[in-house]
């Protein structure tokens, strides 16, 4: 079982979607590069909620919030890029 938590756990989860990658450029488009897709999107939301400890309401987010690692960090971990 993974002991990684928080933002690092999110990165680790995204890497499981593309086992051919060892890292993800923080500005890489996650959708265009098939790291996030419609099938995996809700699972990813549950992972984000678990790691941020906050409920994510669909009415408060837009697709651009999930576009890159940097946008995820800024929107959900309240960290600057």
């Amino acid at each position: 079982m993974s002991t990684v938590t928080g933002f690092d756990a999110v990165i680790q989860y995204l890497l499981t979607k593309r086992p051919d990658l060892t890292s993800i450029d923080p500005d890489l488009d996650l959708v265009e590069n098939r790291i996030l897709d419609s099938l995996g999107f809700v699972n990813f939301l549950y992972v984000l909620e678990e790691q941020t400890g906050e409920e994510i309401l669909m009415e408060n987010v837009t697709p651009s919030d999930f576009r890159t690692i940097n946008s995820i960090r800024k929107r959900f971990f309240h960290e600057s890029e």
């Binding site: 099938l39 809700v42 699972n43 549950y46 409920e55 309401l57 669909m58 009415e59 987010v61 837009t62």
Partner: protein, 364 residues
């Protein structure tokens, strides 16, 4: 109406193979002329989360597919509906639905107050059409009318500037490579209840005790008799049927198409009917079914709110249920454009204000 599917009730505990086979038995199979079998086996397994053994059992039991053994291809709508009524609890469609319907936990009073939204829609040509020959294109996007349920439009910009025209029913443009609309909209609602017992009997006759909701192409939903006979009541089909039955019973009624707010990109349809007290009542049988079958811990009064009240969760347009909210024509031939719809709750919410209130007529 002879309904082919058995009534579905949410299982108390996750089901295994039997649940999948029961769901397959009552599956509304997308008909050949609307099928698109492009989902490959691996993607199907990821969507269903059932494991290869159960998928193979489903194939042996007749799950429709193309491709070859071991490399089957499936229709996406078939898979979604199969999963929704499997009772597995772990498939992507079931989890997605539980997530998307969280707003149904809240006290229905939250559905009646003004809410401000940042609204943005961008239409681009269908993928198959590429970017060429914009001079032969015609575009339309349903004009938002939040005032129909007591809201208002704070701002609305359309584009391309100089080429797009704002009409009562549609925003239109010709000879352009796309169409955009953005602005700030305030939706509102109002608690209303059905007064006429006769009307109540009609509008509650397609409930979760007999029908299930399903995902399917709009073109199939328009064939309401065929869809309802199979025990499925998606929003368009059920509203078209109810409007007809209300009018036959002497009530002024129409269907209305619009968007569900705060669900990223979901068009929706509901019924508007003038009750014997002269007030328009909005009826949303699809929401009633979704709350009962798929929402996690829905508020006990939520179904009542969906049977008469105007809701701030819906953005009305002047389109009827069987009119798509957007369209693209090249050389006169219709196609569904690609669209990106972002409707996000604004950080600033509107201060209470006196409004003219929602309309009393059905606006037929």
């Amino acid at each position: 109406m002879n309904i082919e599917a058995k009534p579905w009730t949410r299982p108390a505990a996750p089901r295994g193979l039997e649940g999948w086979l029961d769901s397959l038995r009552d599956l509304l199979v997308i008909p050949p002329e609307l099928r698109d079998e492009w989902v490959e086996r691996d993607a199907a397994l990821e969507l269903l989360q059932c494991g290869p053994e159960i998928l193979d059992e489903l194939l042996r039991a007749g799950l429709p597919h193309g491709g070859t053994p071991g490399a089957e291809r499936f229709d996406r709508f078939d898979l979604v509906n199969l999963a929704l009524y499997s009772g597995s609890g772990t498939s992507v469609p079931e989890k997605t639905m539980r997530y998307a319907l969280r707003w149904m936990h809240a006290d229905p009073e939250a559905l009646f107050r003004p809410q401000r939204w940042n609204y943005s829609v961008a239409l681009t040509p269908p993928a198959a059409h590429g970017e060429g020959e914009p001079e032969r294109t015609d575009w339309n996007l349903a004009t938002p009318h939040p005032e129909l349920s007591g809201g208002w439009t704070e701002s609305l910009s359309i584009g391309p500037a100089g080429a797009a025209t704002l009409g009562e029913k549609d925003i239109t443009a010709s000879g352009t490579s796309g169409l955009t609309a953005s602005g700030v909209l305030v939706t509102s609602g109002e608690r209303r209840e059905i007064v006429s017992e006769k009307l109540r009997a009609i509008v509650t006759s397609y409930g979760p005790d007999r029908f299930r909701w399903g995902r399917m192409p709009e073109e199939l939903q328009w064939r309401k008799d065929e869809v309802l006979a199979q025990g499925y009541a998606p929003c368009i089909s059920v509203c078209l049927e109810l409007a007809e039955r209300c009018r036959e019973a002497g009530f002024e009624a129409r269907t209305r198409r619009g968007w569900i707010m705060g669900m990223l990109d979901l068009a929706h349809s509901w019924l508007e009917v003038v009750d014997e007290d002269g007030l328009v009542k909005n009826v949303d049988p699809a929401f009633v079914i979704l709350a009962d079958h798929h929402a996690e811990a829905p508020h006990p009064d939520i179904a009542q709110a969906f049977t008469g009240s105007l809701l701030n969760r819906l953005l009305p347009t002047e389109h009827h249920a069987d009119e798509p909210v957007n369209g693209y024509r090249r050389g006169g031939l219709f196609a569904h454009p690609r669209h990106q719809t972002d409707i996000q709750l604004s950080a600033e919410q509107p201060a209470p204000r006196e409004t003219a209130g929602a309309g009393n007529g059905s606006g037929n």
